[in-house]
Subunit: 504 residues, 2 copies
């Protein structure tokens, strides 16, 4: 079944890329579903469902790559018009790769979906409508009027947003590293700090302050940024700035826990700490930030760190939409005690249906599976997106989400095996099953960590070989040939010419 | 002498690129000047001059590539830390090439110069000092204190800034296309207009307005942008947006004169008009803009054009520094009547010395040679930068600028031919001589214009062959191997994958 899924998806994608706007060669797709006929060109009929997808990240992207647009009218509503390969954002923030190399516009991912550059303000699960507001201003500078989109099925994959965790000054004085626009701003500011420190008359003390980069958060994003920033300093700053500048650069990584990269095995965490130290990053474990001011981090011990740039990758929080949906659904309240922070995620059942809502799925970081919570990673989100698309492609009726509710079902077709999971007239959907493909993290100095624990296979790698694996995997996992070519070219360019320091 | 110049410059550049930070292999440079010895490592001595370069455009870039940093302490003061290949800005604004491909950081152009990211507020030609203010804010958000740089020779190449020409609303409601930051904003806004027009519920009329792009100014920048925008619409928008969108796009070019590209021959102007028409651009000749509002251009006939984006490339004006220097020099006033707009440019003598100032050169768009004004082009600026560098490399004393002043002079060396232009003990410098290498302009639809009038050679080309020539010349004229590789890759990428529409 798994292989068949994959083949079916591959056929769909292939067909789409060969003839993006044709509806006539749909044999593969329809025979996959056992109907034998050809779909009509009409874009709306009783047999078609309107699917509203909220978001354009990993889950939404996987869904729109796999969903059969000959059976669904798909609306993708997101303020960001492109998918972003987030694991490489830290690299892009120092120029190892270029921003556009990480992105794929929604319209290119699947030209058959209707992309809407807007924010969903409210989801009315009773009326099955989404209230949207444009995310772009009119020439007058005002936002256009709100509008509604009616749906048959809603798929919520808005992800999360950066959180201040209640620390004063975070929003005003730090750079996040969650969106590509964050990385753009951060790259510019890092370059500016080097120029500020180089200005005539800058005191030694001011130089040291301006060239001190503090990263708060010891997860993959913080660690990768600290490591790649250290690479940038060692390899490129030394080429273009005076020795006085290079000698004063300092990168500090602040982590509240006693270890970094908590999802990795203990010995790999040790390797990561050693590698960061080798790259010149000072790691402060067990340090908590109590407030941020302009160019100043105050720890709860009262110690202050003066610096040029503060990067905040210490936590994420629910988007307002997720919070409002969670509050509007009575059934969600039973799960609030389950999470450390109430309202933070939408509780979903094993079929990814939002508990208490009719025909609503929630995927990725915005969701939390009751009983078996999965890590908030790109891998989970991507697999959930593909699963949701297959659920819809197979014409399952979703029904209401909840552990006490029947699973999604569909009428049995002639091609269903008699042993299939149903009573002969209906087939129930299997739950979402996460297949862990391992963990990867770059830790600076051409060194990475790899960890794979699947069944009997336990692999742990670190160092240069793991870095080559990191590069191979990231190159392979790019979402299109275009992105693969661009990333490969960026890496070669960085190797040959160094990272660009032009500001604009 | 011309050949020798070139060889000498080539040797300098070669030496620099082979060993950017070594001072020991300076034989080529010193024997070129006939001194025979090796320069010492000391960075300041009576034999060294401090050269202040204001700007980082074509003139400044050519100068810092050629100037001998073993004989000069060179300070480059500019708010932009990189050179920009301006003729390709219009292409970058729709994504035919990427922004970074056009840029070369000053620190990379010549690692021996001291780059200062600041604006020169005032030049005191009596005290020979420049008052500077940092162009980047400190972490506190404030600009650091002003500082002074003392110079022996000042080279002013700040270029010009976009001018509103007194038309109300230009600064608030239009996009310039003069700096790379302008192109960044414009590219984003063009992409946003396509998304705005695609929003559900947008009326046909609003769609037509949002997808109307008005370009004011029929010079090379306006024409190239209009042409390349039309290419983008025909080739890429058609791939990613619905037919309803593509059919509503309109590009209008407004020109006050009765012709576009006034520097070209009449028949080539005709070809340009035909080519723009073929690419779908509506050209309005003899139309004057009386005011701009949000999304609305009013002509002096009272006619209004409603649109999504207004690009203003209708004129340039003096930077405040140029204006203040011009006002501070009594001798400049005699030349004010000479120009249509007083104070617009610094009057220079045939050696590019600022009239009335001691040891100050002015190059490029900020200057105007009395009697024989040259076009404000990259070609002129680049040649002037190289000329100024040679003047300094040959150790000429500049003296005071003015037609009634003696030319720059130096003591004659043993290697000077007896016939050289001097009385045996001193040698006078030859004036700047512009060698026109022809005109090029892209007019859309893979078509360009080429015009060369040098001596007996008169060449006029248009169409596809001229376009290939345009590409070859622009590729060859890139300032480094890095830029050539990047531009070539961008062109291939655009051909294969189309222009990227990701917004960030």
């Amino acid at each position: 079944m798994q292989l068949e899924d994959t083949l079916g998806d591959a056929a769909l994608i292939l067909r789409r890329s060969l003839s993006p706007v044709s509806y006539d060669d749909s044999l593969l797709a329809t025979t996959q579903e056992g109907e034998g006929g050809r779909l009509k060109l009409r874009r709306s009929s009783a047999a078609r469902r309107t699917v509203l997808v909220v978001g354009s990240g990993w889950a939404a992207h996987a869904l729109i790559k796999v969903i059969d647009t000959e059976r669904h009218d798909v609306y993708v509503v997101s303020p960001r018009n492109c998918f972003c390969f987030t694991p490489m954002l830290p690299s892009s923030a120092v120029g190892t790769v270029e921003f556009r190399s990480l992105l794929e516009p929604v319209r290119v991912s699947n030209p058959e979906v209707v992309y809407v550059e807007a924010n969903v303000l409210e989801l009315d699960t009773q009326r099955k409508t989404a209230l949207c507001r444009p995310a772009i201003a009119l020439p007058s500078g005002e936002l256009g009027p709100t509008f509604e989109i009616a749906y048959d099925v809603a798929v919520l994959a808005p992800g999360e947003q950066s959180a201040t965790l209640g620390v004063p000054g975070v929003a005003e004085h730090s750079f996040y590293l969650k969106e590509v626009s964050d990385a753009v701003r951060l790259r510019k500011r890092v370059a500016e700090c080097f120029e500020l420190a180089s200005l005539p008359g800058t005191s030694e003390e001011d130089m040291s302050t301006l060239l001190h980069f503090v990263v708060v958060g010891g997860g993959p994003t913080g660690v990768e940024f600290a490591g790649t920033l250290a690479d940038y300093v060692r390899r490129d700053v030394a080429r273009t700035y005076s020795r006085a500048i290079v000698g004063k650069v300092k990168v500090t990584l602040i982590q509240s826990a006693q270890t970094i990269l908590s999802q990795f095995a203990k010995n790999l965490q040790g390797e990561a700490l050693a590698s960061l130290a080798g790259a010149g990053v000072e790691v402060r474990l067990g340090a908590r930030v109590s407030r941020l001011d302009a160019g100043c981090v105050t720890l709860n011990t009262g110690e202050t760190l003066h610096c040029g740039v503060i990067v905040w990758s210490a936590g994420n929080a629910a988007r307002p939409l997720v919070r409002s949906i969670s509050e509007s659904l009575h059934a969600q309240r039973a799960f609030e005690a389950d999470t450390a922070r109430p309202g933070l995620k939408l509780a979903v059942d094993p079929w990814l249906r939002v508990v208490g809502a009719q025909d609503v799925l929630a995927l990725g970081d915005a969701s939390r599976m009751h009983g078996a919570p999965l890590p908030a990673t790109a891998q989970v989100a991507g697999q959930q997106g593909a699963y949701a698309a297959r659920l819809l492609n197979r014409r399952f009726d979703l029904g209401i989400g909840g552990l006490d509710q029947p699973p999604p079902w569909r009428a049995a077709a002639a091609t269903d095996a008699p042993s299939s999971n149903g009573d002969g007239t209906v087939v129930a959907a299997g739950p979402f099953d996460f297949l862990s493909l391992g963990l990867l993290a770059y830790v600076g100095n051409d060194s990475a960590l790899t960890q794979l624990d699947t069944g009997d296979v336990h692999v742990q790698l670190s160092g240069r070989f793991a870095f080559l694996l990191w590069r191979s995997v990231y190159l392979t996992k790019q979402v299109s040939l275009r992105n693969r070519v661009l990333i490969l070219f960026d890496w070669m360019k960085t190797r040959v010419f160094g990272r660009d320091i032009s500001q604009f």
